[in-house]
Amino acid sequence: MFNIQKLNIGKISALAAVLAWLALLFTDLTRLFGELNQIHTAIAPEVSWALEIIFFILLYIFYNNAINRTDNYNFIGLIWKSASTGLVASGVSLLILFFYYLLDDSRLSRDPLLLNFFYHVNFGLTTVFLISATMVWKHLILYQKNKIVVQQWQAYEVILLMSMFFMFFNQNTLNYSFMFGLVFLMIFGSILSANLKWIPYLSFKNKWKALLFVVIILASCAYLFVQLLSYSNSNFHLVNLTDNLFLLGLFGFVFVYALFSFLVTLFNLPTSSVFEQKLTEAINFQRLSRSIQPGQSESQVLDILMDSCMSAAYVDAAWMEIQHKSFPTEVLHQRFISNQDRKEVREMMQNTKPFLEYFSEGMQWKKDYALGKLNHEAYTSALVFPIKVNKDLVGHIFLLKEVRDGFNKEMIDIISTFVGQATISVENYRLLNEAIKNERYKEELEIAQRVQRSLLPSRLHHNRCFDVTGFSEAADEVGGDFYETYQFDDTNFALIIGDVSGKGTSAAFNMSQMKGVFHSLVQMELSPVEFLSKANSALSHCLERNHFITTTYYHIDTAARKIRYSRAGHCPTLYYDVDKGESEYLAVKGMGLGILRNASFRNYICEKELNYKVGDVMLLYTDGIVEARNEQGKEFGYERLKQVVDASHGLEVGEIKAQLIQALYDFVGASTLPDDDYSLVVVKFLH
């Protein structure tokens, strides 16, 4: 909607301006005709002035609108538009002069109507030029807006408007009030002309273009002004259109601003490279500070760092050295220098101060950089910066210049900032990677814990005749201990406890293999020896080398009150006999699973049977308990275990378990961490 409106404003105002000019022309020609031919036409000069003002205002609106729609940063384009308008106006004026020159002194050349016509043409084009230039200057002045400048400009516009109407008061004669008004306008315009902040942003090439265009504007302005003066000196016209405050004020403003622009652009030429340099540095800084994307590497940041440092100091050669632990120093990003020269320079540095001190051990922490002279044939000044990541010295950046004292404080400051920023980027990248790794570890551990929980039985099978409870604690997130029960029928149960060699995830894997073996074989209701033989055979195929599993397998028959068991290298069962009044370790020949991975294993295990009585207590445990050490390095041991069972045999299984756990933790102490898995199973016979 708005675009259509704006377009219309542009077209309407242009059209209207042309109409106003035509009306003015017609009015003036009619009046002149009347004068020449003594016909009384009642056209007062005020009519012309009014049309003139309308013309001014319409042109103003048109150019204001036109310029607001252009690209904000295309200064050169705008200035060129204005310059081209100036060229056109001057060109046409010159053409008219040439025309009159051709006409020489003919009757036509003296025809007042024709003269007046051309006068109007000149007037129109001059006004177009002045107003278009003024609008361009407005755009440039308001390029970096602040409240003060905006207010100043608005005031100026009001004053210009007022000056348009001034001609009603003084009929365009040059009296004191006119001069006062003109001087006032000139001063105000000059104040506004100090707003030249668009000039530094031009590139070097564009500055030259700007100079050219501004010169054209200056020339057009001067020429058209002189033309104006010549008209006012001749007297063939009746209504003076051009000796008015508005146009003269604009002449002054356009000229002064153009002049200031020219001078400032000219004097900015030698230093324009500094501004461009600063812009480049700012861009490089931003590139360095952008976080390293996943998939990129640290070396990309170092690459950008190299580029930035080199352009900041206009170096002739540079390279980067990165130190890896236990690997030789790596040379990266070598620029504009041969290997031989680099080695020469590097060696030279080891012998030249201040580099000698800089590279000596320990000094790097005190010095932020090393700057000095070199006696090399090609390079005479050098700057070395350390690259530190997380307080570790990661490497150095070497910058060389062919001129002496080639590095000034500015350059060193900028390079220091770049190195700092690159360091931050690299540190962030590493921290992020660490965090990701940690997350992954945490996830894996959580999975392992879930696995661990699933490997231990949720319930232990028993009947009224005996009670059973278990306890297990792993040293790591997952452990290698296991125990399990199985119910064959109302009176027959299998019970197993085992210990996989090792700790942690590998032990847990082996443990789950054993669990699988147990659940498969137990269904076959084998005798303990058969069970262990077959288990050994199965595990021979899947247990890792160097690993073994110790286990004891029990078959409890509550109808016959019998326990049959076989021990595959596991800790001997502690059995409390109520008749004897004490506990003892059940000795039975055995061998761990996975040690002999052939059929001869059978010969090393045997089965025993015992009849239990009511009140008997059986304790299954793993070696983590008896081998648990306290701060002094003493082991919990078999004796202590026996003592606790002797003392607590009368309690029910849960309490016996609690007593055992308490005794163990009391012994080990709160501060010692478990370094093995603890497990125990308490069985008490009730009927």
């Binding site: 210990d499 060699s501 090792g502 700790k503 080398r545 160097n546 690993h547 073994f548 110790t550 595959a568 290298g569 596991h570 800790c571 001997p572 020949k589 055995g590 061998m591 761990g592 040690i595 002999l596 090393y604």
Partner: protein, 114 residues
């Protein structure tokens, strides 16, 4: 902490274990025996008089060489174990597969027997 002292005397080689064998250093024991096997030593003696503790990792090392010893005709014997450590071998059943003597003399005799 484990220290392994190797002494070569006549036909046999003695590995004296000082300290503890656990998961962190069992690989040193493994390498020591591996080296002896590579050197084609046919009589290996392990002096366990200074061995304070052995974990399942250490036991696993001994266990893994059982077949190799048999296949290559290597005579392997351990002596001087403390009661505690000897008990560990006994519970696992390794004492049925390895020659474990109380005194060095007994172990040497056995080594040169076969």
């Amino acid at each position: 902490m484990l220290k392994i002292e190797k002494t070569e005397t006549g036909d046999h080689c003695v590995l004296r274990l000082v300290g503890e064998v656990d998961a962190s250093n069992s690989v040193e024991l493994d390498l020591a025996i591996q080296q002896l096997m590579a050197e084609n030593v046919k009589k290996i003696l392990v002096d366990g008089s200074a061995l304070e503790y052995i974990s399942s990792a250490g036991l696993g090392v001994f266990m893994s060489y059982l077949e190799d010893f048999q296949d290559n005709g290597v005579r392997f014997a351990i002596f001087g174990l403390s009661n505690k450590v000897k008990n560990v071998f006994h519970i696992l059943g390794l004492d049925q597969l390895l020659t474990i003597e109380d005194e060095e003399q007994g172990a040497l005799e056995w080594l040169y027997e076969g």
